[in-house]
Symmetry: D3
């Protein structure tokens, strides 16, 4: 009965990509730990780039700098 | 000083229902563990149905199938 | 399919008390939001009192002061 | 490689304030634990006042009462 | 710069299995969202079976019933 | 009423360092957002190095490689 929380920046993740993340994560838990997929939850959080910092910088700023 | 995080799908939870979740959870922690309600936090996250997976499927798809 | 995470300090919570927290929380989600208990998860984290701070102080210190 | 999650109520936090939270938290982890800022993440969640409870009450109600 | 948190029950997950979860999750984020693995974190939490509830029951009880 | 969760690897963080993290984080929220320290929680999680992955690798392996 695993619970997986995936946090990524909110930069245009499509419904199809979310589906692939959910399926891939669930498949991994079935394969590695023999978990029951029926009670495997995957929750995706999309975080605004202003709200995510790495190395002192907001991702918003890092994207501009690239 | 408990902290409780409730994650549910974003499907029309009303302000009144949120109030009931907050009061019920806080009351439970007072009753079972004799915690001080003044320092009991309850935070509710509403998650888009595209972002929640169970048994390989997005909740969006599960709702359509019902 | 709710997911609830309860964080409390690690101060002798018994298995029976954990059971009551799990049952009470699940019952609340069934009553307030008509959720399916079969896919309602409750996860309890017990946090060392050195690792929990409130109002600048570690709970360890607050317990001594009482 | 620390990960820090800051949850605050959604009451007009500016991009500049978020930047200060990210920089201050990262600086603290560098100073206290000598962590590498390049792999220090800070994620800020802004929570609606209806969704945050303290002492049985929604923050929305507490703000009105003030 | 994704952050993934995997919560499973504490029932003998080996270091090798943890490695597979970390590698599989990171690979998934690279493949689906083209994320940089160098800033992809995976954190695994192992939760005592007394502390995990599903369908009103502690996992400890569910395991005995099987 | 902020809630802050700090996750670091479990590599000998002392009670004094935890105190500094709690005080520094709380001070930051008071300074930047004018929050009330009495209802500011800081919770520190110490994660085993086997359970933390970055760039496909467990931190345990990264430490050996250094």
């Amino acid at each position: 009965m695993p619970y997986v929380n995936i946090k990524v920046t909110n930069e245009g993740v499509t419904a199809e990509q979310k589906k692939q993340l959910i399926q891939g994560t669930t498949q991994l838990l079935v394969k590695v730990l023999d978990k029951n997929p029926k009670t495997t939850f995957v929750v995706i959080d999309e975080v605004e780039t202003d709200n995510w910092g790495i190395g002192f910088d907001q991702v918003t700023e890092l994207r501009k700098a690239t």
